[in-house]
Amino acid sequence: MIIDIVVITFVVMGLVLFSVGTLGILRLPDAYTRMHAAGKLDTLGSICLLFGLALWQGRHFDLAHLIVAAKILLILVFVSFASPTATHDMVDAGMRAGIIPWRKGDKRR
């Protein structure tokens, strides 16, 4: 089926983005760099994965399955607004609290 190939492509893309985001959370040396990696990659990975699951839900083409797929797309819209706002708020809280950013040559914090 052609819908299986499309859904597998979107799900694998989302899983790769989640993996790189988790690698950035574990490896990078500072709180700000970790938030840079985690915010962007978790947002785009959630968008890809939720779009693939909405396509997989809407493959039956009934009314009930299409309404549930539209609800999954509404979750996608909410995540695409909320996750960058949460990341910006965490960075703003760190700058107001006085955490100095990491420079080249410092030790890993």
Binding site: V11, K71, L74, F78, D89
Partner: protein, 92 residues
């Protein structure tokens, strides 16, 4: 295809267990907030995976939407508390 979705949901669960290290052992409180945010973003996807495995997505999609809203409010409240209470001498 069902087996592929099941194993991909297990992979998301493994990534959540790896993000839990940063939420437990982060040096600053900001790292702990970040780990909680990463785990919550992955849980929103994992609940829909569970609904597809059980073939009851019409029930689980509302739980996923409520969890996404609750995670957003929790992260904003925790970061607001952190920049009210935080000083530089507490971290280093």
């Amino acid at each position: 295809m069902e087996r592929f979705l099941f194993y991909s949901s297990l992979f998301v669960l493994l990534l959540m267990a790896l993000s839990l290290y940063r939420a437990i052992a982060g040096p600053t409180p900001l790292d702990r907030i970040l780990g909680g945010n990463a785990i919550g973003t992955k849980t929103t996807v994992l609940i829909i995976f569970i609904g597809i495995i059980f073939e009851r997505v019409d029930m689980f999609v509302d739980i996923a939407l409520a969890y996404a809203m609750l995670n957003f409010i929790a992260v904003i409240a925790a970061s607001r508390y952190f920049h009210k209470k935080g000083r530089e001498a507490d971290f280093y």
